[in-house]
């Protein structure tokens, strides 16, 4: 039997008859968890989130509890801010779009609870500019929440004040980087900040302690509080708890988004059982498993994975691409990452160099230009790849391309350096022969 979805966040999304107004949300038990949360000490909610082992769903997979733990309201005079990162722009990813457009109040409730837990009085939702309808939906939802005193002064008589505003971006992927987002929110060019010293938990928005969380992460907080950390931690796998919304696109028969417990579904099950397998009768060639910045995986590759056997001992198994469980640790173990959950599937008719060239143009466009390696290197890689896909590749280009990528990764201010370098490294590592062939087939 194919693996079943566990729709916790997507529970009501696409359900017939479910509308995005607050009345519908309330009818389905909405804001009950907020009422419960407001009666708890904020520190306890933070503790619950930590015990739940919830990891960020924006791409980095960083422990949410740990991120919240960096901020101690008793040790600062400055206001604490929380920002919902709704700047979903990682190619292949389209999950936050669903939540924003189809169940906005779930996000708001999760966000309000998160703000309460962290003593936040003023919070922002940074939504990408290309979601204008989403921004309007959120503003309307906020107005509805305010009207019912789920937001604003003295929420539900608890004495807690919170205001949330929507802030629209204007077409820059780098605003998804937390310090780039903060700079953009401050009204400046979104150049990410150097860390140290500008860790958002210490010197964030307006140089005050700030938490930046992804849309899906904040929704998960709601469910952690609702069911309790123990129950949440039982979902998925140890250290990879809860569910993930996986987005599949590319050469599958049924692209789309689905929510599964972390690690219970493998790549093959997702592609073949859930998404109808490769379309047009073609064969699988490559998968980008976690948004375009994740290193591509080749269909025939074998991976060594350490797994804990029933006897508690660690054994090393060799598995194929299709057997990789889709959780954070497994995907990291095979040399890629779970990232933002955007899975792009490519079949055997696809030219890997062309695919990489397409992505390199994305990165060259989106580089903010602040630091030398990424600014110069991202456009250089794009130019090399454009040349290679227009019949002018030279023998030395593949090695050059790889070396340029190697000179960017690990040398930049922010993770965009890795984001633009890893795809190049991944594609060349897995499909070297195709890249080199460009020079001979001119």
């Amino acid at each position: 039997m194919p693996v079943q979805e566990r729709r916790i966040i997507l529970k009501h999304i696409d359900q017939p008859g479910y509308t995005i107004d607050i009345d519908c949300y309330l009818k389905h038990g909405g804001y009950e968890t907020l009422k419960k949360a407001l009666k708890l000490p904020p520190a306890q909610i933070k503790d619950e989130v930590k015990k739940s082992q919830l990891r960020g769903r924006g791409g980095a997979g960083f422990s949410c509890g740990m991120k919240w733990g960096f901020i101690d309201p008793s040790k600062t005079q400055k206001p604490i801010y929380l920002i919902c990162n709704a700047d979903e722009s990682d190619p292949g990813t389209f999950k936050d779009r669903q939540i924003i457009h189809k169940d906005p109040h779930q996000l708001l409730e999760g966000m309000i609870i998160s703000c309460f837990a962290n003593s936040v009085k003023l919070a922002y939702i940074y939504i990408r500019g290309e979601f204008p309808i989403g921004a309007r939906i959120l503003e309307k939802a906020l107005a509805e929440a305010r009207a019912k005193n789920f937001l604003g002064k003295n929420i539900l008589g608890s004495g807690y004040d919170l205001e949330i505003y929507v802030h629209r971006g204007a077409g820059a992927y780098i605003c998804g980087e937390e310090t780039g987002l903060i700079e953009s929110l401050e009204g400046k060019r979104p150049y990410p900040r150097i860390k140290p010293p500008y860790f958002p938990a210490v010197l964030g928005l307006y140089m005050a302690p700030t938490i930046v969380n992804n849309v899906e992460t904040l929704c998960n907080v709601l469910h952690v509080v609702e069911m309790g950390s123990e129950a949440f931690a039982k979902i998925g796998r140890p250290n990879n708890t809860g569910t993930r919304i996986l987005c599949v696109s590319g050469d599958v028969n049924k692209p789309g988004y689905h929510e599964f417990e972390c690690g219970v579904i493998t790549m093959g099950e997702l592609i073949n059982d859930i998404c109808g397998g490769i379309r047009n009768g073609n064969k699988l060639k490559a998968v980008i498993p976690g948004g375009s910045s994740a290193k591509v995986l080749r269909a025939e590759s074998k991976f060594k994975m350490k797994q804990k056997g029933p006897d508690g001992n660690m054994t090393e198994k060799e598995i194929g691409l299709l057997d990789i469980p889709l959780d954070f640790d497994s995907l990291a173990a095979v040399g890629s990452m779970a990232g933002s959950g955007g899975i792009i599937v490519m079949d055997h008719t696809r030219d890997m160099v062309e695919s990489m060239a397409n992505l390199s143009e994305f990165y060259a466009h989106e580089s903010c230009g602040q630091c030398t390696p990424c600014r110069e290197g991202s456009l250089w890689m794009k130019k090399i790849l454009t040349r290679m896909t227009h019949g002018k590749a030279r023998k030395e280009d593949t090695a050059l391309l790889k070396n340029v990528a190697d000179n960017i990764a690990g040398r930049t201010i922010c993770a965009f350096g890795e984001a633009c370098a890893w795809p190049v490294q991944g594609f060349i590592a897995n499909f070297k022969e195709e890249f080199e062939a460009k020079a001979t087939k001119r």
């Binding site: 400046k188 599949v248 397409n358």
Partner: protein, 162 residues
């Protein structure tokens, strides 16, 4: 103030500024959106007006207008068509859709930016991932998202514009 704006607009602007009690500068992006929505593009006047309103230098606003591709300093056609060009959409024929839009609208020019049809009716441009890869290729007509766009539905999109 160099430019004059109507009181209704100013009221909107002031309301937005109130969302950022810690720093007026944060209202730069929202004000740019408001200005562009009202006037169609951000003119030199707009840059000066917003800078003055927020106690900033004109260069501070110019920095933003030129960084974010959604802001334009020149007017565009009546109907704005944005075609996603990133991987999943590209794999599903986005470039063919773009070519077709060019053909039926007659828009030409430097495709690194927006190109407008000679009659000023349509502006077509490539944009990066619009976060709807599952329904690729996607196109935005104004604020609306059109999914699984084909050559045929592209024509329908054009026809729906008056």
């Amino acid at each position: 103030m160099s430019a004059q704006v109507d009181p209704e607009f100013e009221k909107q602007v002031d309301e937005v500024i109130s969302h950022y009690p810690a720093s007026k500068r944060s209202a730069s992006l929202p004000l740019l959106h408001l200005w562009q929505e009202k006037y169609g593009y951000v003119s030199e006047e707009g840059i000066h007006w917003i800078a003055e309103k927020l106690g900033l230098q004109p260069v501070n606003i110019l920095e933003l207008v030129t960084f974010y591709p959604m802001f334009r300093q020149k007017p565009i056609g009546r109907h704005h068509i944005r075609v996603c060009r990133t991987l999943s959409c590209s794999l599903n024929g986005a470039y063919d859709v773009f070519e077709h839009f060019k053909k039926i609208t007659g828009a030409t020019g430097d495709e690194h930016g927006p190109i407008t049809s000679p009659d000023g009716k349509f502006t077509v441009e490539f944009v990066e991932c619009l976060a709807s890869c599952g329904t690729a290729p996607v196109v935005m007509l104004g604020d609306e998202l059109h999914e699984k766009v084909t050559i045929k539905s592209a024509e329908q999109i054009i026809q729906s514009c008056h």
